[in-house]
Amino acid sequence: MLDVYMIVALLASFGLFYGFLTWCGSVIDQTGES
């Protein structure tokens, strides 16, 4: 059972980074070239 928790924690962490990547993208695209 502990294995399941650890694997879920590992995948959830990487899921968090996908979310962070999306947020970074929204910051970069806020105002379009300059």
Binding site: L2, A9, S13, F20, V27, I28, S34
Partner: protein, 559 residues
Amino acid sequence: MDILQMLIVIAILVLLVKPLGTYVYHVFSNEHNRLDKVFGGPERLIYKLIGLKRREGMSWKIYALSFITTNIILAAFSYLILRLQNVLPFNPNGMGSMEPTLTFNTVISFITNTNLQHYSGESALSYFSQMAVIMMMMFTSAATGFSVAIAFVRGITSKGQTIGNFFEDFVKAHTRIFLPVSFILMLVLVALQVPQTLDPTLTVKTLEGAMQQIAIGPVASLESIKHLGTNGGGFFGVNSAHPFENPNPLTNVIQILSMWALPAALPYTFGLFAKNKKQGWVVFTAMMCLFLVFLSAAYTSEKMGNPALSALGIDASQGSMEGKEVRFGIAQSALFTTVTAAATTGTVNNMHDTLTPLGGLVPLGEMMLNVVFGGKGAGLINMLMYAILAVFICGLMVGRTPEFLGRKIEPREMKLIAVAILAHPFIILVPTAIAFMTDLGHGAITNPGYHGISQVLYEFTSSAANNGSGFEGLGDNTPFWNISTGLVMLLGRYISMIAMLAVAGSLVRKQPVPETIGTFRTDNGLFTGLLIGTVLLIGALTFLPVIVLGPVAEYLTLR
């Protein structure tokens, strides 16, 4: 003599910077060159096997998604091997499967290039795990960091929409740098008496008639990539203090140079990409100035010895030799410690927990700044992050729009840089505070008093900086420490990488601004000073209170 041998190693390093930096530039510039004749064939075969038909450039988002996804797959694969090592081949010593939270920690540790080890390799891993998980991830994590750094450099020095192809960079980092160089290094280490065998642990009779087990294994192959990839850790629990990992002063110098050369050469590579070598030397000089300050502090502190021992009338003329190997002495130990923390390798040739308080502050401080050469690619990315911040601050002071390498620096880039810079102290100080507040955390402290604070602080700082060394008096192989440091290692690795790739993706799309007489130059001595000042002001002041509570307070109690 001590100072001379340190100066010789530094001189050799400086001589390596230009040829190595040029070589790395040719590997990743994607221009046809003579290297293609040697490596082109095997690379085309690999591209065919992984289905990479067109090596088109990627946007920063696709590049980041590619490296994160590759890392997830490698982590999952490694988790399974460590849990099943008891039924897999090449297990002559009958190792059992690794405990789940320790597996979680170990997989994250090696995929993030940290190589923090809450176990001893010789008593916890089969040869198959050492090779298929530990060594495999030593290659792939180093190649990932290198690829991201090169992509970031492309982003801030070129014009277009893309920053390279991750899979092409990842393959080239292996085929043209890590595999050939680590193979040569392995042969050199074998010639210098480092073991390389699949034979099981030896059982021998000692002179006193007792039976003793002596662990051996494929040590040399792991040693070469662990340094070259600034991975750290080691085949044995005591890393490069073990005579089979690091038999003599010559292997010690080879190991120092092999972990230091590539991070030191990357600023020169950056200068070549920027088509302004002086730009690269500015970054290198800033890194080297900080390094020399840290090295002087480490050597002086260890050479002066421990006042508490001197007060007992013990001869301290050799310096503080507690936890150090006699065959290396103070100079080779201080240099190794300063380099392993600077390059965020994290392997040790002496026990950092027994360094004098100010000697222990050196690796701690280097990891807190995380820009003194730094690990594979991470140090360069972090230093360039501070360079952009320095330009921004100077722009604010003189009332001009800040520019770096001809690109305007705007609020959106600064927002991401601020997140990346603030994340580092946040993921160190918050978990440290939590550890002090819980029985699970402070139950692991073996040194009461100020040194106990340093132990906990060092563990999380090492995890956040993806270094991997430790004050090993800390009893850290528990679920609390395995999970907490595992999460810190992940955050320390990926937040800054993703944020800085986003900055690169933003800058690569901008129209370069023509240089005018009013342009703030970033390739001279003045900017070198400003860069060092920014690093110290932002990085050092953030951590000053906790440093006073730990190493400084301990130092004052010993006087």
